[in-house]
């Protein structure tokens, strides 16, 4: 039987008195690769913050690994949309990735050899082994995004939450990040917030469409169709690129 990783029942979230999410119900099973798409302000990032335990819902129930969000930080890897930090911050790439092991340690424990090996392994997965000693402020936008993914992977999480990881990278790096996620989905459950409605269809198992507090459609076929896009975006949408390849889609992840 497939294990349920995330369950949201009639979830409602308000930010500053404004309803951002309302009556949202969905679940994510082990092995799923779920993409959450929708227009800006549609509540995508808020939903991720709820799953991370950073935002409390006003209605409904959320369970992550069967408990309230934030209960099992060591099982979750998180990739923020972007990282605002001082370029002069005295921190090496390897030390930044090591922070991904934080949830596995108690406050008095220092990082050990196993932690450093895991950080190096994560850097290898994202193809940045050669940059381990570089200062974090010296990285390009694409390299930094990969470091954030490596940091999320360093703790060997069961669930990977990514918030628009391709928002600030060039098309080549975008493809490369999706190829990486395509590899990772074999071993990790992934929830991805993205605007790349065309590109994601080749990689993900399911697509959740969010617009201003409601789920418009949970597409069982693995890609949002043109109709769905027109429904959820508050402006005219033509889906120009949409080539879902049957062999690219993991059959095990497709809900029917």
């Amino acid at each position: 039987m497939t294990r349920e990783i995330v369950r949201c029942d009639r979830l409602g979230v308000e930010l500053g008195g404004v309803t951002v999410l309302r009556d949202l119900s969905f679940s994510v099973d082990e092995g799923d690769f779920l993409a959450i798409v929708g227009p800006n302000g549609g509540g995508k990032t808020t939903l991720l913050r709820v799953l991370l335990g950073l935002q409390k819902p006003v209605e409904g129930r959320v369970l992550v690994f069967g408990a309230v969000p934030g209960r099992f930080p060591e099982k979750i890897g998180y990739v923020p949309q972007r990282l605002f930090f001082d370029r002069d911050f005295p921190l090496g790439v390897r030390e930044a990735v090591l922070m991904g092991r934080m949830a596995l340690k108690t406050p008095f424990q220092h990082y050990n050899k196993a932690d450093r090996a895991a950080a190096d392994e994560a850097l290898g997965i994202v193809g940045l082994s050669a940059l381990g000693n570089r200062r974090i402020g010296a990285l390009s936008g694409g390299e930094l995004q990969r470091v954030l993914i490596a940091r999320a992977l360093a703790g060997k999480p069961e669930l990977l939450l990514l918030d628009e990881p391709t928002a600030s990278v060039d098309p080549e790096m975008r493809t490369s990040i999706y190829d990486l996620l395509d590899q990772l989905k074999k071993s990790i459950t992934i929830v991805l917030v993205t605007h790349d409605t065309g590109t994601v269809s080749r990689f993900v198992g399911r697509v959740l469409c969010l617009n201003c507090s409601m789920v418009m459609r949970e597409n069982p076929e693995g890609a949002p169709g043109g109709d769905t896009a027109r429904q959820i975006y508050p402006y005219t949408v033509d889906l120009l690129v949409h080539h879902p390849h049957a062999h690219d889609r993991p059959e095990s992840n497709v809900k029917s």
């Binding site: 335990g53 923020p80 990282l83 949830a103 406050p107």
Partner: protein, 273 residues
């Protein structure tokens, strides 16, 4: 410098105080710079003037009054901004002014003249008694131990607080702990450069060290060395030129800060050509 000067206890104490204060300055100052909490540090330092007033009023060592006042200010400013959602600069400004006002009133209520008041405001490293040196050494130990124990939490808090929170770190708790370390460093530095000038010694050596450091640990070490250099050289200059020691230390540090960043600007503009 005349070698005979070391024969005097007050001068040996001044040198020791410079070195010991630099340890706290290097460690805590690095966090102040990377976490960008310089203004909070200034607020804590000025609130501590209330503690000096309390010390005079009760007739005890004013530093014993500074400890509760600076710790109280650190926790109150931190809680107000994090929990009560009061704008941080508003909370700082309120404590800054109220702390000074409490100090002025308590000193006014104290009968007679307030000796050495000027040295608490602007520092006088030549008046540090041996007892205060022991207190500074203990506080150094405490600051170093807390930093060693919670170094990875403080680093995560400074670099990416949201990620620290997601990783299960009690960020508000560690933020308050960090502010308490700053408060204890203020206690130490009051003797060296005084309440008004504390903020400079908490930020300038670390800000210069950051330019040359690849790790936070390296930055702390370098900031400690820079701070010791500024304190000792400032002490020597003040002795030779008969100037106020605290102010001389700060002017020296400020000049080095400007020089380093001017040099950096020149180098980056040459590279850009």
């Amino acid at each position: 410098m005349n070698g005979d000067i070391f024969a005097f206890e007050f001068f040996r104490n001044a040198v020791l105080a410079s070195l010991l204060a630099s340890i706290a300055c290097g460690i805590t100052g690095s966090y102040v710079v990377v976490k960008k909490v310089g203004f909070i540090s200034g607020g804590i330092a000025h609130t501590a003037f209330g503690g000096i007033g309390l010390g005079y009023y009760l007739g005890i060592n004013p530093l014993f009054g500074v400890i509760p006042f600076s710790l109280g200010a650190a926790i109150a400013i931190g809680l107000l901004s994090r929990k009560a959602k009061v704008a941080e600069d508003t909370a700082i400004a309120a404590f800054w002014a109220v702390g000074m006002a409490v100090g002025v009133i308590l000193i006014g209520l104290t009968p007679g003249y307030a000796p050495n008041l000027f040295s608490y405001l602007f520092g006088n490293i030549l008046t540090v008694p041996t007892g205060d040196l022991w207190m500074i050494a203990m506080l150094d130990l405490l600051i170093a131990a807390v930093t060693w124990l919670f170094g990875k939490e403080f680093l995560a808090l400074s670099f990416d607080e949201e990620y620290a929170e997601v990783s299960g770190v009690k960020t508000t708790l560690f933020y308050l702990l960090l502010l308490c370390l700053i408060a204890l460093t203020v206690v130490i530095l009051v003797r060296v450069v005084g309440i008004v000038l504390v903020i400079a010694l908490l930020t300038i050596p670390a800000a210069i060290a950051r330019v040359f450091s690849r790790t936070l640990g390296g930055m702390m070490l370098l900031a400690t060395l820079f701070s010791a250099f500024f304190c000792l050289t400032g002490l020597w200059l003040s002795y030779e030129l008969d100037l106020a020691s605290g102010a001389t230390i700060i002017i020296l540090a400020g000049a080095a800060f400007l020089l380093v960043h001017a040099g950096r600007l020149v180098i980056s503009s040459r590279r850009a050509r």
